[in-house]
């Protein structure tokens, strides 16, 4: 080092405390930060387990609860651990239609999660393109878009979803549409806000100065820097979407009875609550709870890790 110094060229030694070399990409740093919290790590593991179950439900479920030919009304309301007359054991019991609850929960997770994730993703793509457009074009376009966003946000999600579903009818696709309709605005607002902040940063000026095209600046420079808040919103909104779907199912609008999501399982099971057939409602309830809680925990940690203000 001293040798270098003598040449008058200061050594480009790594900055404070960064000992490791190339390994320190933003992704790795992010991961290292993320796994610092044991709770969040645990939550992530559980969540991955849930996702695994959801994805592979058809292969790991004991029965196919959506296949009416195999579901028998004669088996309904059996308590956990009962045996069906074909000799199969219902570990978590059966629901009011005779579905094996364990399988129903697996499939329900699949439905709930895919509703949450699909609506989250679609809303994200839609909302962030709109938000980015607004931030990029500015002026009238921006004003117009943001007014629409305001209107949307000033209206409570549950009401909009209620009315929309009343209009659209039932089905997974319908509920996704309704959820997207109530969620896109959050993404639009988030992306626009951070895009506006990023756009004013000097690195964007530098890129302008380097005569890079607007498109390139927007997508290669601005957008990646808007992602962190977006990721947080995605997790939070996905959890919200799942919860909202459950609520809508509870209110009797949402998914078809034969393909119940967790919310619908709970709602159906609730009828049996007072007759102390607790398992029909409690088990899906616990599954829903774990799902939402883990997503929120993961989202929380993401927020902490990705929040530049809390970053050391």
């Amino acid at each position: 080092m001293t040798a270098l110094a003598e040449q008058g060229v200061p050594p480009g030694a790594p900055s404070d405390a960064v000992g490791t070399d190339q390994a320190d990409t933003p992704l790795r740093r992010f991961l290292a930060d993320f796994f610092e919290s044991r709770v969040a790590t645990g939550a992530l593991v559980v969540l991955l387990g849930i996702v695994f179950i959801a994805v592979f439900a058809p292969w790991i479920s004991p029965t196919d609860p959506y296949d009416l030919a195999t579901v028998d009304i004669m088996d309904n309301r059996l308590p956990p651990g009962s045996e069906s007359y074909t000799g199969m054991i219902y570990w978590l019991g059966t629901d009011g239609a005779g579905r094996d609850l364990l399988s129903a929960i697996f499939y329900g997770l699949r439905t709930s999660l895919s509703v949450g994730v699909m609506s989250g993703l679609i809303a994200m793509v839609l909302g962030s393109s709109i938000g980015l457009t607004a931030a990029y074009f500015g002026g009238r376009t921006d004003t117009l878009i943001m007014r629409v966003v305001d209107v949307q946000l000033s209206f409570p999600a549950i009401l909009v979803a209620l009315i929309l579903l009343a209009l659209l009818g039932k089905g997974v696709d319908k509920i996704i549409i309704a959820l997207v309709a109530v969620q896109w605005a959050y993404y639009a607002r988030t992306v626009r806000a951070s895009a506006l902040v990023e756009r004013r940063k000097e690195y964007v000026e530098a890129a302008t100065c380097l005569a890079l095209s607007h498109r390139r600046i927007l997508f290669r420079h601005v957008l990646p820097n808007c992602l962190p808040p977006l990721i947080v919103v995605v997790t939070v909104q996905t959890a919200h979407a799942i919860s909202l779907e459950a609520t809508l199912s509870f209110l009797g609008i949402g998914l078809p009875v034969t393909e119940p999501s967790l919310g619908l399982l709970i709602a159906n099971g609730f009828d049996y609550m007072l007759s102390l057939k607790y398992w029909i409602s409690i088990f899906p309830g616990i599954a829903l709870l774990i799902t939402i809680v883990t997503i929120n925990l993961v989202g929380d940690q993401l927020r902490d890790v990705l929040n530049p203000r809390l970053q050391r």
Binding site: G12, K201, Y203, E205, A206, L210
Partner: protein
């Protein structure tokens, strides 16, 4: 280093600004317009960031631009670097009127003028590797082919005192001084002639500042660069510039070769400014500050902008805007006092 100050000869000028003005207008939305129709006091707000600035920068020259915070230095720098459009006035690069250039030519000119920023943290995209930060533009603009790419980047980094082995890293892995070097490398990578340094060393520690200033001087010698060096630190400007422009509230109040200016400032503002610079050599000084602060550019004072703080202000200063006129060869000042003398 003692290049003689180039006189503002139009022919030799690399960059020339004529009557450049920039106003930031905060427009009213529909509701605002309605309200103001209905007699509300709400009005459009206009910030007079630049007001009729003339400036000439000769090839190879280092021009310093000094002024208090908010006086419009950065705005001028941004306009020169092509990031902002002026509201009024013309800009000539190598004698060509920039606003009227063909797109291809305009792009070439844009690349010839680069900028280095104050904040070593905000001016680098945190999600790009050093290699891409520096190499993106040359690659996109076809200044290098993709086979030459790596070598070219190494070369530029080396020139700026950075080890090429760090090019796969991200900005957060560097210290402030190193980041500033990356910023310089990014600018140099498109082979500019003219570099606008906007407070490029203000955020750095003294020892690092010295390193970067030395780098600027070295690069200028090696590449024949021209600098517009914006700073509020008179010491730094004095050290590096050949000629200095003093700016006050959007207007140039004085310009002179550095030595002349520091030896014998003409404008009352320049005088006050110079008097107040703390120096290592002065001990137990009696500070004699100028009264007041720089007024708001929203409502600049009439007449000479400096008159509310000027000890010599006369009635004329309150009404009439003094023009920048030559008071000695190579020296210009905008003060009514010069007429009376």
């Amino acid at each position: 280093m003692s290049l003689p100050a180039t006189q503002g000869a139009p022919n030799g000028a690399l960059m020339e600004l004529h009557g450049l003005s920039k106003r930031f207008v905060k427009t009213l939305d529909l509701a605002g317009k309605l309200a103001s129709k209905l007699g509300s006091s709400i009005r459009e707000e206009t910030v007079y960031a630049l007001d009729g600035v003339n400036m000439t920068v000769a090839k190879g020259e280092v021009v310093g631009l000094v002024g208090e915070s908010g006086c419009g230095k950065s705005t001028l720098g941004r306009i020169v670097a092509g990031i902002l459009e002026p509201t009024e006035g013309q800009m000539y690069y190598e004698g060509r009127h920039v606003a009227t250039l063909e797109p291809a030519e305009a792009k070439a000119v844009a690349l010839k003028v680069q900028m280095i920023f104050q904040d070593p943290f905000a001016s680098l995209n945190p999600r790009m590797r050093v290699r891409d930060i520096v190499g993106e533009a040359p690659l996109v603009h076809g200044l290098v082919s993709s086979d030459e790419f790596e070598g070219y980047v190494d070369d530029v980094l080396g020139r700026c005192g950075l080890d090429a082995s760090y090019k796969r890293r991200y900005p957060h892995q560097f210290s402030g001084g190193q980041r500033q070097r990356i910023g310089i490398a990014r600018a140099l990578a498109v082979r500019p002639d003219f570099i606008v340094c906007d407070e490029a060393v203000a955020a750095l520690d003294v020892s690092i500042q010295a390193q970067i200033l030395n780098l600027f001087i070295k690069l200028r010698e090696e590449l024949g660069l021209t600098y517009l060096f914006i700073s509020h630190d008179l010491g730094v400007v004095e050290h590096i510039s050949d000629r200095v422009y003093i700016m006050y509230l959007g207007r140039i109040v004085e310009t002179a070769p550095t030595e002349d200016l520091f030896a014998a400032p003409n404008h009352p503002y320049t005088k006050a400014l110079l008097r107040e610079v703390p120096r290592l050599e002065t001990r137990h000084s009696k500070f004699l500050p100028i009264e007041g602060e720089i007024p708001s550019p929203l409502e600049p004072p009439r007449g000479c902008h400096f008159h509310p703080r000027c000890p010599h202000a006369t009635a004329r200063c309150r009404e009439e805007v003094p023009v920048l006129r030559e008071i000695a060869p190579g020296r210009e000042s905008a003060c009514h006092l010069n007429d009376e003398a």
